[in-house]
Symmetry: C2
Subunit: 215 residues, 2 copies
């Protein structure tokens, strides 16, 4: 009886239309089938017009999105607002993994330079090598000679370190200073809960006391 | 300086296209702006064709979804697989809130009757009253005379109880037995962690020992 019901449930019960929509939602990062189903049921309660607006917003985004030709940030014009701004310092370029990191750093209000968005990070397991990233355009920007310092602001993990090293090798023969954002204990955290590697680095790369004061 | 950067970030930095897509995702239940952004960045890395398939799956679902004319379950035919099956007992009808509950009950393999999907639950705070639910069609089904028992399987909360009461009043003058699914301690749980209301009900509505044995 249990076998019949299971078969029955799979074959007759759920609709292909529903399953396709659930599959699409379940492919989003961090979303399992149960949540995907909840999303689908939510959409089914909306008007057709609202759901068309929902679905089309993504299609429209993907078809119309443009990128800054200088830094690969999202942009509605050829040059993004940051690259074309006279109040930013174009001799300082911060290299980031993706758009979200540009927003994160902008939110700190501690950086006045330009960016370079790699579009990812070297990760052999995900099939992402240097060729899939915006590395050549970074080299070309450095060749133009206006850049004095490159700040590497990638994730402080193995893929980030690998990417840092690759880019360092590519740029070290040019007349440009290469730095990375500091590793250390997070503001507000206790030493007891800091892992040993980070703690070790925080000692080796210690800074003058005055630098640690929040301005 | 901080004010200028905040203004700059909002005005020049993020694209309207991105914001619209983020807004759509953020309207999904349980999804905040950070997760919505993560979804958008995920989609931006996909091919245009994949994103079209993504967006269109929801539009197609909403435009083409059909419901069983008897029980309001999703169905690709006028009568769903359950309502048209000869091996199901049409004299026993289980009333549920939505499609997901039909699946949940089917998964127990303990129910052989038909369903009636209300499409929601009475919730004044959400603006859902009886008129927004499939109550009249339930009454009509009962009027047809084939139904011997209605099993109320709504959530065991205030909205569920309110809906139970409303439907009970609507149906009590008909020759139909009305029951609700049992409240009690969850299988596998400890008495210590059961709330007092549920514990009280489990005592008042106690069942013969033999019923508690798993078959």
């Amino acid at each position: 009886m249990l076998m019949v019901y299971s078969y029955f449930w799979r074959m007759n019960f759920s609709s292909k239309l529903i399953e396709q929509a659930v599959d699409e939602f379940a492919a989003l990062p961090g979303i399992g089938r149960k949540t995907a189903y909840r999303f689908v049921l939510y959409l089914l309660k909306k008007d057709e017009e609202e759901v068309r607006k929902f679905g089309n917003s993504f299609i429209k985004l993907r078809e119309q999105i443009k990128y800054c030709e200088n830094c690969h940030n999202i942009s509605e014009t050829q040059l993004c607002g940051i690259c074309s701004s006279h109040s930013r310092d174009g001799s300082l370029v911060c290299v980031v993994e993706d758009i979200r990191d540009v927003i994160a750093i902008e939110n700190t209000a501690q950086f006045k330079g330009h960016y370079h968005v790699l579009g990812g990070i070297i990760s052999p397991m995900d099939g992402i090598g240097p060729a899939e990233l915006n590395v050549e355009t970074l080299v070309n920007r450095v060749k133009r000679g206006d850049i004095k310092e490159i700040v590497m602001a990638l994730s402080a993990n193995m893929e980030g370190d690998t990417t840092n090293f690759y880019i360092f090798k590519k740029l070290k023969d040019f007349d440009v200073k290469i730095s990375t954002i500091a590793r250390g204990v997070a503001v507000g955290s206790e030493l007891e809960y800091t892992d040993e590697v980070t703690l070790g680095r925080s000692i080796v790369n210690r800074v003058p006391y005055e630098n640690s004061l929040v301005r």
